[in-house]
Symmetry: C2
Subunit: 210 residues, 2 copies
């Protein structure tokens, strides 16, 4: 038996373990947008993914650890599905527009059945202080900061009126995104997302210099 | 003993019962904005208001009945605290402005610790179909309809550009109100509410004919 052959099974097991943990956390993130992050107990998740509670305890030692790992997974999904493609746009104004349009596409595509994971979790955790709320709030703050920085950059590039306050414009765009998300989740009516798109186009046209 | 005297104790008892039911439901509405409407079991509420579970069962036969009665109470509070004062404004544009400003004052005043009761409940119940969600959705729809009608009336009065679509403008104003609410609940920072006020002033100025 060569050295290469003898390490194969161990490597295979490790990969399976990783894949399994990733798959569990993805299911956990989906479930959390329906039943809430507080409803995400190890027992409830075990039932949902068809594993034993002890099997899940091997992955996550406590409910809080599971919640924090779920937030981390949802953040990676959001980063890959929304942020990374949007930041490909060559101009800063293009990045502002793409952050908004990718967000709404993400919501409509149903990646999470309860819409934007972080909107769902923020609404639930707002009155429950602790590390889980702090982790979610940090990601929400990072998203808002990203829009704000892109607005400021677009001002430097001469595409957005220098009289606009970046944090104020980011707030207004985010307001439209979040109501688009919330209305779509309740109604499943694409008009909700279209209203958000129309409001954003109008607001950015008003902020433009051209 | 006169007839008047003999009926007094019964009347007194009835009033106490009513007052007590109203006080319980107000406490239930406050609790629901923190722990969610799903967390509002008869057992949890009994603990919160310091009554026995059997005492509460005499008022509400089931969790769903309690949830529906709580929504009804929150609706009355919202009506008295926000809608009624706002509708005193003599012009339709004034009513649009007052619906927005009274909503934000209501949020800041902390009537409910978790901010707007219906925003909190809508976010929680969006993925849980049933009579409780339907009751909450009806009130949210009524609120949006009220802004929309006031916008349409303001167009008839010549104060809002006839080119504006009332449902679209109502959506945009509501988006700013709801993010003002959500940000304030998380941060307790009056800047959140101020950003919503500023966005609304700007949007209404853009929609105005003067």
């Amino acid at each position: 038996m060569s050295a290469t052959e003898s390490t194969k099974p161990a490597r295979k097991r490790r990969q399976d373990g990783e894949r399994s943990r990733a798959a569990i956390l993805r299911a956990a993130a989906e479930l959390a947008t329906i039943e809430g992050l507080e409803g995400l107990s190890i027992g409830r998740l075990a039932e949902h993914v068809g594993m034993s509670k002890s099997g899940l305890f091997a992955h996550f030692g406590s409910k809080e650890e599971l919640q924090l790992a779920t937030i981390d997974t949802a953040s990676q999904i959001f980063e890959e599905d929304v942020v990374r493609p949007a930041l490909q746009a060559p101009t800063a104004l293009g990045r502002v527009e793409a952050l908004c349009s990718e967000f709404l596409r993400h919501v409509e595509s149903g990646v999470f059945p309860g819409g934007c994971f972080f909107a769902s979790v923020a609404a639930e955790m707002d009155t429950r202080p602790g590390p889980v709320r702090d982790a979610a709030a940090e990601i929400v703050g990072g998203w808002l900061g990203l829009i704000e920085q892109s607005v400021a950059q677009a001002q430097l590039e001469g595409a957005i009126d220098p009289g606009e306050e970046p944090a104020q414009l980011a707030f207004e765009l985010n307001a439209l995104l979040l109501l688009g998300n919330a209305s779509f989740v309740i109604s499943r009516d694409p008009v909700a997302v279209e209203r958000a798109r129309r409001g954003i186009r109008r607001r950015l046209a008003g902020a433009g210099t051209s």
